[in-house]
């Protein structure tokens, strides 16, 4: 990330950065409060309450929580299975908290993977996610078609020995666009998604369709185009026999000719990035 790119869109990016940090703070606070016996519903409610108390009024989507083999989306067939259940957390179990709050008109969409106690397999998955963060950034800067990048991520996961679990998301997306959201006094949500944000995504889809691009980054033909400038919430998700891990954060794509400025991660001071850096220092 260069200073210029930051400055050009500084005020706006600052807003996104702020809400992304807030969301990760929430994830860390809730993760610290998770104990054996807590259910997914309770974990989701804890996230909602935490963010509400800090001024979040609208959502891109309501917070999710997945425990145990649900982190790998084992047996997921219908979208309803994404919603929190009464699954209880046990020692050694992996969990994922996923939330997308809207704060002061800016959206974030984050995914936080953790584990209750020791789980070497989960550590391995988390460590292996780093390669994906690098790969995605590199190939976006090369302006490769999104579908190709998707396939490369897929191949890397297979080589690592894992299954690609973002394929289980709606439309198999690995990422979707996020944007500013108009602040309304009344902002209802349907099926867990905020209507204001859905409206934005829908209008992107309509405009994009005319110009030959899509706000969804998927393995399908409609994603066969170079990265579109804007903010993308990217969420590579690894699954391995009942254990899953992902991160989700915002990638900024600009139309700059300078490769470094053409794409960069919104923030490099996030829990998973810090964790990788600490591991390197320890090694």
């Amino acid at each position: 990330m260069t200073a210029r790119a930051k400055d050009e869109r500084a005020p706006e990016l600052q807003g996104f950065r702020e809400v992304q940090r807030l969301a990760y703070e929430c994830a860390e606070a809730v993760a610290a409060r998770l104990r054996p016996g807590v259910t997914e519903r309770e974990a989701a409610r804890m996230q909602r309450t935490w963010l509400r108390e800090r001024g979040v009024r609208d959502w891109f989507h309501l917070p999710f929580a997945w425990f145990g083999d649900r982190t790998a989306f084992a047996g997921f067939r219908v979208p309803l299975q994404f919603f929190p259940t009464d699954r209880r957390l046990e020692p050694g179990m992996p969990f994922i908290l996923d939330m997308a709050p809207v704060y002061k008109g800016f959206t974030a969409d984050i995914g936080y993977s953790g584990c209750l106690g020791l789980n070497p397999l989960h550590d391995r998955l988390l460590a292996d996610l780093e390669a994906h963060r690098g790969l995605i950034l590199r190939e976006v800067r090369e302006r490769r078609p999104l579908r190709e990048i998707y396939e490369d991520v897929d191949r890397l996961m297979t080589r690592q020995g894992y299954a690609n679990r973002h394929r289980a998301y709606p439309f198999g997306v690995i990422a979707h666009k996020v944007d500013r959201v108009a602040e309304r006094r009344w902002s209802p949500h349907v099926f867990g998604f905020g209507t204001q944000s859905l409206k934005g995504l829908l209008s992107d889809a309509v405009h994009g369709h005319r110009d030959g691009w899509s706000p969804l980054w998927s393995p399908y033909r409609f994603s066969d185009h170079p990265p579109q400038p804007g903010l993308w919430a990217v969420e590579p998700h690894l699954g391995f026999r009942g254990t899953g891990a992902k991160f989700e954060e915002i990638l900024v794509v600009t139309d700059s000719r300078d490769p470094e400025q053409s794409a960069f991660w919104l923030d490099d001071d996030l829990p998973h990035v810090r964790r990788w850096a600490e591991e390197k220092v320890a090694a």
Binding site: L121, R124, T158, R159, Q160, G161, F240, R241
Partner: protein, 590 residues
């Protein structure tokens, strides 16, 4: 007794003189091995020799057997109470201030159940490994439950076990058993065992067999009727128990242990595809399970912790725990999924592939999901010398392979006339010669060891589906199928099973490396992409093939079609091969 370093001593108990033999370092924790009927302590020779490397191993002749003296009179001298006295006397003599790990086979296990469930032995036993011998009390309750609430299944179980227990009734007749054992039966017994049970000769049975068997009849007469009629209601085990069930036991049915969990709070189950005399026919496997179980309990004792569940959670963990499994082509697809499935079942895994990075990745993840150990080896299976070196290295460093999965294979598509000799050679080298090398080298090691094993060869639905698009590939796979069936016939007498797996269209990356004969690079790339997409759309996961492989080993299946299309083609190939020949003429939609 043919054991170097064995120290013999006599232990006196209630007018009886027991012959006790010790092996290994006496300062280490003790394992006591108790023999069955009609055996003497020599039945344990091989197991004891292996355990003695790590443990203080103690064997003794049960009263009236081998070199121990017999009670006078015999009647009433073999009650479980008296046998418990004997055990306590031995335990006090060999390990006065430390509880012992107890192992029993057949009647040794029957009496050990008594030791493990009565209160006066509490604190003297650290763990108990039972094989082929139920507790008479549990057995009594088992019968009562089935008699009091008969359902067709329960009646079936009763009749089945009733038929298997024929010798128990025979032994209750007076005098006749003694006459038979001291006469013709005693003479022929070694031959009978060799033929029916494939028990290898050695120092067993000992010349004392006729006397042992005649005395041992009183084990049955003194205990069976009284215990089955009035089983103890409090026969709960006060130690962790490992139950090893030989699946081919002709005297005891597996259902006998169905409700055992209610009697044993900490139960570890193992199963072994073998007949009754496992201490003679499967000493390596027994020694490794006993060692693992006793060690887990020992460290729990020392750490003051509750004993952890020693068996992993995967499917068939009771069967594959601690076994050595070698998988070729383990860097991806079916091979990798198979290695993982075995790892989850607690097997030690050798992941072989010519892709070093992929193989080591498989080994690393296998360790993370439950394999006690996993290694990666980089070998091209078509390279005879490399395979020979691998076989030597595996045998020397990891041991004899229990399950071999010859899975490595490459794809080749294109018409016969366009396939070059070089392409033919490369396909046959990997797909057929790779399997031949694997079976030849590792199969020989298995056969030489003489303790059973299993070989799985990955063929393909193409093995019985002719096609104008895959002549070389189908030929190689058909050869693998036939090879497997021939080998199965040959190795049956060695208790080594051979299975051919015919997966069908499975979503692996074989398509991305498949050669397409008679095409240029660009066209080949297009075809690869196209087939990969087709295979991806079919989306049959390699994990399901891995499941089928484990099941095939457990059930010793000969030919296993996996996907529905593979089943359909196999069915048609037998019902109406002409239809398949018609399909073979169709041009593939590429």
């Amino acid at each position: 007794m043919n054991l170097p370093g064995a120290r013999e001593r006599r232990v006196a108990t209630g007018g009886i003189d027991l012959c006790v033999v010790e092996l290994g370092d006496a300062t280490r924790p003790t394992i006591v091995l108790v023999h069955g009927y009609p055996d003497s302590k020599e039945v344990w020779t091989q197991v004891a020799r292996q355990l003695a490397e790590q443990w203080h191993v103690v064997l003794y002749d049960v009263r009236g057997h081998g070199r121990s003296t017999a009670p006078v009179p015999l009647r009433g001298g073999f009650t479980l109470e008296k046998l418990t006295d004997d055990f306590l006397a031995v335990a006090d003599a060999v390990s006065p201030d430390r509880p012992v790990h107890l192992v029993g086979h057949d009647w040794g296990s029957v009496q050990s159940w008594e030791f493990a469930t009565v209160s006066r032995t509490e604190g003297r036993i650290a763990s108990f490994t039972s094989m082929s011998g139920p507790s008479l009390d549990h057995f009594g309750h088992w019968i009562k439950q089935r008699m009091s609430r008969p359902t067709p299944r329960r009646v079936g179980q009763l009749l089945g076990q009733g038929a298997k227990s024929w010798y128990v009734y025979m032994l209750h007749t007076p005098v006749l058993p003694e006459l038979a054992w001291r006469g013709p039966l005693g003479k022929r017994w070694p031959r009978i065992l060799e033929r029916l049970e494939k028990v290898p000769r050695g120092d067993y049975p000992t010349p004392s067999l006729p006397d042992d068997a005649a005395h041992g009849a009183w084990l049955y007469r003194d205990n069976v009727r009284s215990r089955l009629r009035r089983p103890r209601a409090d026969a709960f085990a006060h130690v962790p128990v490992q139950l090893i069930t030989p699946t081919g036991d002709i005297f005891l049915s597996e259902q006998l242990y169905d409700g055992l969990d209610s009697w044993v709070p900490q139960l570890t189950r193992r199963s072994l595809p073998a007949k009754h005399w496992v201490p003679r026919t499967r000493p390596d496997q027994l020694a490794s399970w006993i060692d693992e179980f006793a060690a887990a309990n020992e460290s729990a004792l020392e750490g003051g912790l509750p004993v952890q569940d020693t068996v992993p959670r995967g499917a068939y963990a009771d069967r594959f725990g601690g076994q050595l499994v070698l998988v070729t082509g383990a860097a991806g697809g079916i091979g990798r999924a198979t290695a993982f499935a075995f790892a989850e079942a607690g097997a030690r895994v050798v992941a072989v592939d010519r892709d070093a990075e992929g193989a080591s990745r498989t080994a690393e993840l296998a360790r993370l999901i439950g394999a006690p150990a996993a290694w990666a080896e980089t070998v091209d299976v078509s390279d005879e010398q490399a395979m020979e070196k691998l076989a030597e290295k595996v045998a020397a460093e990891y041991g004899i392979v229990d399950v071999l999965v010859n899975n490595a294979g490459i794809g080749l598509s294109g018409s016969f006339l366009e396939t070059t000799a070089e392409e033919w050679r490369s396909v046959l080298d990997v797909n057929l010669w790779g399997v031949i090398h694997g079976c030849r080298l590792f199969g020989k090691q298995m056969a030489d060891r003489g303790q059973g094993g299993h070989i799985v060869n990955t063929a393909s639905a193409a093995a019985y589906q002719p096609s104008r698009a895959l002549p070389a590939y189908s030929t190689s796979k058909a050869a693998v199928l036939m090879l497997s069936e021939c080998l199965r016939a040959e190795l049956a007498e060695k208790s080594i099973g051979v299975s051919a797996i015919c997966p069908g269209i499975v979503n692996t990356n074989i398509t991305s490396t498949t050669r397409f004969a008679g095409t240029d690079a660009a066209e080949e790339q297009r075809l690869r992409k196209r087939t990969s997409t087709l295979y991806g759309k079919r989306n049959y996961p390699p994990e399901k093939v891995a499941e089928a492989i484990l099941r095939a080993v457990v059930r010793n299946q000969a030919v296993v079609p996996v996907t529905p299309e593979s089943h359909a083609v196999r069915f048609l190939s037998r019902l109406s091969p002409g239809v398949l020949r018609g399909i073979a003429r169709l041009k593939p939609p590429l």
